[in-house]
């Protein structure tokens, strides 16, 4: 379900501007009236429907829509529930889905009958069965639908391209073919044309392509009319120039320019985090032809894991927000207090993070932590293996560019796993090594000599956390995972949601485990849909509050207010009314749980 062709051409002109930034810290959460208002906004006047240009709407020319005429025979008798429920792959279901996607999307399912069969008896049991079954179709269950720019090769997206010094050294052509088959590429080169890093393929393989890219970019640079992006075939090229560095992304996954640009910015931040801005400038002022690979040596894996998280689709990056671990307010409070009480003078920021989710933060009153900085830290600790694999405690100089791009801070990191003294209280607890469950304590200081101070603080904090049972609480919360929609909004047909609290710059989402964890592709489709929703509601001149969108294999809803952004996805046949209802439930739940889901304020000293 990628937006293709003509859309991209338009994007070209319109999307030079990043989406409006969310306001920082609204004074108070607006109470109930606002919700009522937003709900009424779900009248057809405010609704805009996306039509996906994959031919599923409005025409009968595609193979799927041929089926419109045929669902009737199969439901004329008593269709057994099994037929629909168990063999989801059979054609009946697909047909009913294509009927739905042909139908005007804003109608509830009851209208379907009148559309297809005129006076078809709505009371018939078979019809009821069909209706209930088809509404249960999960999003993206029709994986065989061959969308243009499909994700068929996404499964192998992250496979390595073999090295030259492997067995078939002569096989440059096939390696190049493999390289070209990747759906997403990232490249970084210097304005002098020196390759610095690319996600796929070693630089010797793709050097000539780097040369072409550099020529094109510098041609426009020379004309004082910098090139921002262009489309070739089904691939979108987006270019960001940062001083002496060119960042290029080539995507066939259908993200918008603004989204791709944000991804490139994150790569730039990673480079700054390694070198600092003054050092980077210094390098290139002295020798514009410097090979930056040397100073960046060892951080390739950080760039790659960052890039891969974008390619897989990262809600955190999309929303520019953080995810927190859901614990009770009082529990978070007591963790914060332990943290604050044991703080050393040298400390700037202290964080406890579990599986990439923030548990607790303490910070000076005058300094807040920027999500993009935390993204870099989380990427380093949880996505790339460098820090965790070594074991022990780590002392890492790094620059947090959003905090201060001109100097280094020093980060103490230790993981609780395998740390027997801290866990000894709970020996029965089995320790798993999945990154999802790792708990880390991160202490950041501006003083590079403060390792032993921070280590001492960490030991005390770990001891207290274990003693007061907080560590067990964190472990349990990690184990409990993300919320399950069926428990917080039962009988809503929504399969997945994202909820961003704009004031807190944090988000929460439902578990990916049920529908989306089984394949990379299903997850990517979900994220692509979210990217499209996000782009539509953040487009420059759109003043959307609510967007309901139906495609061949999923329907989705975006709802944006000054307080929150909400996105959800359901099966293709779920009615708008039902989705709205579910959305309301989830939003009410998020409001009620706000202090558990989000860190509000954090520990301040």
């Amino acid at each position: 379900m990628t937006q293709e062709g003509a859309d991209h051409v338009n994007d070209n002109v319109e999307e030079m501007q990043p989406p409006p930034l969310p306001p920082r810290r609204k004074a108070e959460v607006e109470p109930a009236p606002l919700q009522a208002k937003a709900t009424t906004a779900l009248s057809s006047i405010d609704i805009q429907t996306l039509s996906f240009p994959d031919g599923s709407r409005g025409t009968f020319s595609t193979p799927t829509s041929r089926a419109v005429s045929s669902p009737l025979p199969s439901i004329s008798g008593y269709a057994s529930p099994n037929q629909f429920g168990l063999s989801t792959a059979n054609s009946d279901l697909d047909e009913s889905m294509s009927v739905m996607s042909f139908a005007p999307t804003a109608r509830p399912p009851a209208d379907l009958a009148s559309l297809v069969a005129g006076g078809f008896n709505k009371k018939s049991r078979a019809w009821q069965l069909l209706r209930s079954q088809s509404a249960n179709v999960q999003p993206f269950s029709s994986l065989k639908v061959n969308t243009p720019g499909g994700l068929t090769s996404f499964e192998t997206e992250f496979d390595e391209i073999p090295d030259i010094d492997g067995d078939n050294a002569s096989d440059d052509d096939s390696r190049l073919l493999l390289w070209k088959s990747k759906l997403k590429h990232y490249m970084i080169l210097s304005s002098a044309g020196k390759p610095i890093w690319s996600r796929h393929g070693d630089l010797s393989l793709i050097n000539s392509y780097m040369g072409v890219v550099q020529t094109i970019i510098s041609f426009y640079e020379g004309a004082k009319n910098p090139l921002l992006g262009f489309t070739a075939g089904n691939a979108r090229f987006v270019i960001v120039t940062e001083g002496p560095l060119y960042f290029i992304v080539i995507s066939r996954l259908g993200e918008s320019d603004a989204q791709l640009r944000a991804q490139l910015d994150a790569l730039y931040m990673q480079i700054l985090s390694t070198l600092t801005l003054p050092a980077l400038k210094h390098i290139f002022v002295n020798r514009p032809s410097t090979d930056l690979r040397k100073p960046l040596q060892g951080t390739e894996s950080l760039l790659s894991s960052l890039a891969d998280s974008f390619t897989k689709g990262s809600p955190s990056a999309l929303l520019g927000a953080l995810e927190c671990l859901r614990v009770r307010k009082s529990q978070r409070h007591s963790i914060n207090n332990i943290f604050l009480k044991l703080r050393t003078e040298k400390l700037l920021y202290g964080l406890i993070v579990a599986g990439g989710k923030l548990v607790s933060v303490i910070r000076p009153r005058r300094h807040s932590l920027h999500p993009s900085d935390l993204q870099l830290i989380f990427n380093m600790l949880f996505e790339s293996g460098g820090v965790k694999a070594g074991g022990g405690e780590n002392w890492i100089p790094l620059c947090l560019p959003a905090f201060n791009n001109s100097g280094y801070l020093y980060m103490y990191v230790s993981f609780f796993d395998g740390d027997t003294e801290a866990v000894s209280q709970k020996p029965a607890e089995e320790r798993s090594d999945t990154p999802e469950e790792e708990i880390a304590i991160i202490l950041i200081s501006p003083d590079k000599e403060s390792f032993y101070d921070l280590k001492e603080m960490r030991d005390k904090v770990a001891q207290q956390l274990a003693k007061q049972g907080s560590l067990a609480i964190i472990r349990a919360a990690v184990k409990a995972g993300r919320p399950d929609i069926s428990s917080l909004a039962p009988s809503s047909q929504i399969s997945h949601f994202l909820y961003k609290s704009r004031a807190n710059v944090q988000f929460c989402m439902s578990t990916l485990e049920t529908t989306f964890s089984n394949t990379l592709v299903a997850r990517r489709r979900l994220m692509t849909l979210y990217h499209e929703l996000h782009e539509s509601v953040h487009a420059r001149h759109s003043h959307l509050k609510v967007l309901h969108s139906v495609g061949a294999d999923a329907s989705s809803l975006a709802w944006v207010t000054p307080v929150f952004e909400f996105y959800c996805v359901a099966g293709p046949n779920v009615s708008r009314a039902l989705m709205t209802q579910g959305a309301n439930r989830i939003i009410q739940w998020a409001k009620k749980e706000e202090e558990r889901l989000f860190i509000i304020g954090g520990g301040v000293f």
């Binding site: 920082r24 810290r25 010094d165 390694t274 070198l275 600092t276 003054p278 100073p295 040596q297 060892g298 951080t299 894996s301 950080l302 953080l322 927190c324 700037l348 923030l358 933060v361 910070r363 000076p364 300094h367 807040s368 932590l369 920027h370 999500p371 380093m380 790339s384 293996g385 460098g386 694999a389 070594g390 074991g391 022990g392 405690e393 780590n394 002392w395 890492i396 100089p397 790094l398 959003a402 905090f403 201060n404 791009n405 100097g407 280094y408 980060m411 501006p446 590079k448 000599e449 390792f451 032993y452 101070d453 004031a503 807190n504 710059v505 944090q506 860190i599 509000i600 304020g601 954090g602």
Partner: protein, 235 residues
């Protein structure tokens, strides 16, 4: 901290690992501390701090190990780690001659700047890539390993050994992959540390480390706030 007059005296020894990137410093430590090995290990960032006890007949040595990153950009931080260190492991890759040159630089720097009594061991790692050990399967997981013969050795034992003797360093050839000679290095270091320099000193870097000036890259907390930080999260 153990007392000096405990039945079997135990003392802490600060040990630092230095050497070019990707010679196997972290792998040596991982083998020594966890008796484990990981193929294609990702580079260390900054430095890692680990501890491991080493039992000698008459005493227990608790190594406080600083495993530093080998990349050039971290070189300026090295003094912080070798200052007050009682022992150093300078590691090179015996399939890569340039790494021995780098190792010699480190030895010179240590002799110039580190504590006078520091025990230095020169270690040639990746012995499994040569055909000298029986159990090394010479799979060639790294850049080396091409060519018909299995022997990827590029630095001869004599060359390194002669140098080590000239500089009075301990010398070992090891394989972190097979575990060959790894414990021996640490035991030899433990034995070589003079009894007199063993105190139950803790965190030697912490106390007398502070007053190093010229930290021009240090972030000034009191300075004007970065305009970007307006967008920061509220937590």
């Amino acid at each position: 901290m153990a007392d000096a007059n405990a039945p079997k005296p135990s003392s802490s020894v600060k040990l630092v690992l230095l050497g070019e990137a990707a010679v196997g410093k972290s792998s040596l430590v991982l083998r020594f501390v966890n008796n484990d090995f990981q193929e294609n290990k990702e580079p260390t960032i900054g430095a890692a701090f680990l501890t491991q006890k080493c039992q000698l007949p008459t005493r227990t040595i608790k190594f406080e190990i600083w495993d530093t990153a080998g990349q050039e950009r971290f070189a300026s931080l090295a003094p912080m780690y070798y200052r007050n260190a009682q022992a150093a492991l300078v590691v090179y890759d015996l399939t890569k001659p340039t790494s021995l040159i780098k190792a010699k630089h480190w030895v010179a720097e240590l002799q110039r700047q580190a504590s006078p009594g520091i025990v230095i061991a020169l270690v040639g790692n990746k012995l499994d890539l040569t055909n000298e050990t029986s159990d090394g399967d010479a799979a060639g997981d790294d850049e080396a390993g091409s060519g018909e013969s299995d022997d990827a050795r590029k630095v001869s034992t004599e060359e390194a050994k002669t140098y080590a003797e000239e500089e009075s360093l301990l010398f070992f050839e090891t394989s972190a992959k097979t575990g060959h000679n790894v414990t021996e290095v640490f035991t030899a270091i433990a034995n070589a540390i003079p009894e007199t320099s063993l105190k139950s000193a803790r965190g030697p870097g912490a106390s007398n480390a502070a007053g190093r000036g010229a930290e021009e890259q240090r972030v000034q907390l009191g300075g004007p706030r970065n305009p970007d930080s307006k967008e920061g999260c509220a937590c």
